[in-house]
């Protein structure tokens, strides 16, 4: 029997060569022939097609990713492993990684998101770490669109349905709406795990003669070609036809897999452990073998299946979820089996580690495939893609936005308080409670600060320490300048960690971009990687791992270039934790850093439309580094009562959040340097608004001067209203016209702010009806 027929019958249409049907180009077929020294057979071609997919091989991005800084203090495992691992002292280490499940979620939102959570959790416990938290960064199109609402509902239920059941709390993330994601939502999931360093486990297959044990769910026909069909191609009209390529999640099986895997690791029973994700057994066998410089002989008949009649290629590339591959010494197979059986997990010896460096697939003694492991992984094809900046940088106002310049708003007669309320209630800034309430954020009894108010904080049981985690991505600025977008994303994510008092440990990333064969899209990717690297080098932070998701395009166009950044930080003493909310009436409010021009990419611009000549704000990495060093030192000296960074919605929204969350008003007076819109609502980076006791504020100001940072006392905490007066030459407004010299103030009640903030998201998604 030849393989061509069943493969063709399953995935191909007539008269197109098989390799093209599988997503390989003619050039790639030639490269496969070079590596094999012969023509591949159909099974081998199927294995190459998934392993050489963009998703598995990073064939477009690999040359770029090599430029990233990966070394750093405490890094125990970096890129190339399933997750980055950084030591946190006391013999403990933290594992973390972010990964995308964009395309499956677009086709089938519930299962796509659910298996996204499942996949990243497996990456964590494969390292020997117990997963302790998930953060999900979600991006969708217009919240009023029916398709967006369908996707939001399905994705949120999927994240919750999986995470809640496996008992890993969802403690943070993002939810962003932008029209560019309408045809191609982004579902990026970050997971964090905690391990004893001595249990660090590699996804390698050392020791010829060792046994490859597959445990967990049986192998079925779900997720055939997920990596190649879904993850590595642009979407078209036939998306519903791709549903069979979406995997189906079983969180109960995952929960058992977590417990069994950790028990195997803690018992010292495995030499290596790898989860099965994209490209299934083919990927697990070739990657573990290649990492150890060995080979693996797979016995196809030994692989437990969900249904009879599966073709060899289906078994080898199936992405059935909740499966693990353990490399086990022969004398420990019985002990491994006992653990699996105790947890009710099917297991099977499916092969042996070999010394020849090849992955082979045999059935009943007949060899069906033989491929050097390296050819599938470390020696997979790499493309030098063409990068070219767009002929004209995009500087158009947001669709539907007024043509008139917006950076002078609030204009005469316009109430800046109304602008603030509109921002606070807007889909991207309103409370995320209606979403995160559908997640279990407290299971595990480690959640000190869950979703809703800045970075997530997780205590480390048995120590005084806490981990602080956040995700951030600035895609709107990235649309103007992808270098800047990525650098700003790193700056904001690390700042969100630093303002709690924690020291960032490392950066993980998920780069969501368009079709890399388009020179403009590849330029965006390469610029973003450069920005990521520059920012991390400036911060002295290692990139410990990540994921690249390309082909994020649909009939309506490409997404905004979205460099999702995940950061984990370490707080030595959780008792020193500082939050973003005001804590005490009478405390003084200090603004550190100063507003710079540039409203493009801001939420204010989304609302008001930006001036066509306006650009995004600038980032000075040295200032950002100084700012974060300052706030960490100020917090460690116990000078700070609350600290909030100025980001989405600008200073006015930062103040509103600190006030709402602390249930304490504030009265501040802001000097206007350029325009009220820039000072109130601009999103230029490297700014913190903090509160400090009356005795401490002088120390805060002095410390800021030591760090060469502008800092100003701008007001006082208290009352039940947020009052922001504008002062200075740039002020505009009716009050100034009257000759008072003081612009119109913002003066809104906390109750109004909170009502608007609370209901904004439900209203925009139609959940309030």
């Amino acid at each position: 029997m030849t393989l061509a027929e069943p493969i063709a019958a399953t995935v191909s249409s007539a008269s197109v060569p098989l390799h093209r049907t599988l997503g390989l180009t003619d050039g790639e077929l030639d490269a496969i022939r070079d590596r094999l020294g012969r023509d591949p057979n159909d099974l081998e071609l199927a294995m190459f097609s998934v392993m050489w997919s963009e998703h598995c091989s990073y064939k477009s991005s690999r040359p770029l990713l090599r430029t990233l800084p990966t070394a750093g203090a405490g890094v125990v495992a970096g890129p190339g492993e399933n997750a980055g691992v950084v030591s946190i002292g006391d013999g403990l280490a933290v594992a973390f990684k972010v990964e995308s499940h964009n395309h499956p979620s677009s086709v089938e939102p519930y299962q796509g998101a659910a298996t996204g959570v499942g996949g990243i959790l497996r990456d964590i416990f494969t390292m020997g770490a117990r997963p302790i938290a998930v953060l999900d960064a979600l991006r969708f199109g217009d919240p009023a669109a029916a398709r967006t609402r369908h996707l939001v509902d399905g994705v949120v239920r999927g994240v919750g349905g999986y995470g809640n059941c496996v008992g890993v709390p969802t403690v943070g993330g993002e939810l962003v709406f932008d029209p560019s994601y309408g045809g191609n939502p982004l579902v990026n999931v970050m997971a964090i795990g905690l391990l004893e360093e001595r249990h660090l486990t590699r996804a390698a297959a050392p020791g010829p003669g060792n046994v490859a044990i597959l445990f967990g769910s049986a192998t079925g026909r779900d997720g055939i070609g997920g990596a190649s069909v879904l993850a590595s191609a642009t979407f078209g009209e036939d998306d519903p036809a791709k549903r069979p390529s979406v995997q189906v999640g079983d969180p109960f099986a995952e929960k058992l897999l977590i417990e069994a895997s950790l028990e195997l690791i803690e018992g010292g029973l495995v030499e290596g452990l790898q989860d099965l994700g994209a490209a299934g057994i083919t990927c697990a066998a070739s990657e573990t073998a290649d990492r150890a410089g060995t080979g693996m002989a797979i016995d196809l008949g030994a692989i437990p299946r969900r249904e009879p009649g599966m073709e060899p290629f289906e078994v080898m590339i199936s992405e059935s979820q909740e499966r693990m591959l353990a490399i086990v010494r022969p004398e420990r197979v019985a002990a491994v089996a006992a653990v699996c059986e105790r947890w009710g997990l099917p297991w099977a010896s499916i092969g042996l580690v070999t010394a020849d460096g090849d992955v082979t697939v045999s059935d009943a003694g007949r060899e069906l495939a033989r491929i050097p492991a390296a050819a599938l992984t470390s020696n997979a094809i790499v493309h030098d893609r063409l990068a070219a900046p767009p002929a004209r940088r995009r500087a158009a106002p947001a669709p539907g936005a007024p043509e008139a310049a917006g950076d002078q708003l609030p204009e005469r007669g316009m109430d800046p308080g109304a602008v603030l309320l509109a921002l606070v209630g807007s889909p991207n800034l309103a409370s995320r409670r209606p979403v995160f309430e559908q997640y279990d954020s407290t299971v595990g009894t480690a959640t000190v600060a869950g979703p809703g108010h800045g970075a997530a904080v997780l205590r480390v049981r048995g120590t005084t320490k806490a981990l602080v985690a956040t995700t951030d991505a600035n895609a709107t600025v990235g649309a103007f300048d992808p270098w800047l977008g990525a650098a700003l994303s790193v700056a904001e994510a690390t700042r969100n960690v630093s303002i709690t008092g924690a020291r960032p440990l490392g950066v993980t990333n998920c780069l969501n971009f368009g079709d890399p064969t388009r020179p403009e899209a590849f330029w965006q990717l390469s610029e973003a990687v450069r920005g990521l690297g520059d920012a991390c080098r400036a911060m002295g932070l290692p990139v410990t791992g990540g994921n690249v998701s390309l082909f994020n395009e649909s009939a309506s166009g490409a997404i905004l270039p979205t460099p999702e950044i995940g950061v984990v930080g370490l707080l030595d003493d959780v008792a020193t934790l500082v939050g973003p909310a005001f804590v005490q009436a009478g405390d003084q409010i200090v603004l550190v850093g100063e507003a710079g021009p540039g409203l493009a990419g801001s939420e204010y611009a989304r609302l008001a439309g930006s001036a066509s000549e306006d650009g995004p704000p600038a980032l000075d990495l040295a200032t950002e580094v100084a700012l974060q060093a300052f706030i960490r030192e100020a917090i460690s000296r116990r000078l700070v009562a609350s600290a909030q960074d100025v980001s989405g919605g600008g200073l006015a929204v930062a103040l509103a959040e600190a006030a709402m969350w602390g249930d304490l008003g504030a009265h501040v007076r802001i000097p206007i340097a350029s325009s009220p819109a820039v000072d109130l609502f601009g999103e230029s980076p490297s700014r913190i608004v903090l509160s400090a006791g009356p005795q401490a504020s002088a120390g805060v100001l002095a410390l800021a001067r030591e760090h060469d940072l502008p800092a100003e006392l701008i007001g006082t905490v208290g009352g039940d209203r947020l009052v922001i007066e504008l002062a200075g030459a740039g002020a505009t407004g009716a009050a100034e016209e009257r000759g008072s010299g003081v612009a119109d103030s913002i003066d809104v009640s906390l109750a109004d702010l909170r009502h608007t903030w609370d209901h904004g998201l439900s209203r925009s998604l139609g959940w309030d009806r």
Binding site: N164, D250, P251, F252, Q438, T442, G444
Partner: protein, 254 residues
């Protein structure tokens, strides 16, 4: 030290939290595997939260048939102290150890958030150390937490003092069933926890073990766990499990 068993079903995910909570409350926590038929002589048993056996069919419906549940039912029938938290409450309701059922939340969505509960009685083995009149703040995290029983049963529960906890406002004010802010899952009569008729088995949907340390935002739940450990310790000192029933019965009668 008093040994408290915490049942571990495949799919339990609050077992570790509950074991830790018992230790914080001064007990010695013992994990009891679902396949075992013996309770290993523990003084009391907690069924923790999670998704026992995946709960794909209906929460708790499979767990009630597990070997350990036969032992738990016999222990309860003999007067032993049993506490079901969240999924554990669902399991003991399915097993008929406490009256009523837990239906899907009124909004048909999973809900994870803080609630406030009032303690209707502070004279039980589960609440003796709870300060009377003070609302307790702790998280809920469930998809099926809407307490339901027919009106006659509800009237009986009220009459016999079997309502243990009710959802209230943060100020402790009672609320109607439809008050989604305070009673988010829509439980009838805002019931968050109940006792069996003998007073030795209780279940509640909120998670006291997640509110047992100040660093986690609340330690209000510790009073419940301490009460339970204390009652278990007195029951074990005074002899066989039937004495626990006497203690519980005395509480119910007072």
């Amino acid at each position: 030290m008093t040994r408290i068993g915490v049942v571990v079903f495949p799919g339990s995910n609050c077992d570790r939290d509950t074991l830790a909570g018992v230790e914080l409350a001064g007990g010695e926590a013992v994990a009891l595997w679902h396949e075992q038929a013996s309770l290993e002589g523990v003084s009391a048993v907690i069924l923790p939260g999670g998704f026992a056996y995946g709960d794909y069919l209906r929460a708790g419906v499979i767990a009630r048939f597990s070997p350990i549940m036969r032992a738990v039912s016999a222990f309860a029938a003999d007067g032993g102290l049993v506490l079901g938290i969240c999924n554990g409450f669902q399991v003991i309701a399915e097993a008929g150890l406490v009256p009523g059922a837990l239906l899907r939340n009124r909004g048909l969505r999973f809900l994870g958030r803080d609630v406030h509960i009032a303690t209707d009685r502070v004279d039980t083995p589960f609440t003796s150390m709870v300060e009377a009149g003070r609302p307790l703040r702790m998280p809920i995290a469930h998809g099926e937490g809407c307490y339901f029983a027919d009106p006659a049963t509800l009237d009986e529960l009220e009459r016999d003092g079997q309502v243990l906890f009710r959802y209230v406002t943060s100020a402790g004010a009672t609320v109607a069933d439809g008050d989604a802010a305070a009673n988010p899952n829509g439980s009838l009569r805002a019931i968050a926890g109940v006792l069996n008729a003998a007073g030795n088995v209780a279940g509640l949907m909120p998670h006291p073990e997640r509110a047992s340390e100040r660093v986690l935002g609340s330690d209000d739940g510790l009073a419940i766990l301490r009460s339970f450990v204390d009652a278990a310790s007195r029951a074990s000192q005074s002899g066989p499990a039937t004495d626990a029933a006497a203690l519980a019965g005395a509480g119910a009668a007072s």
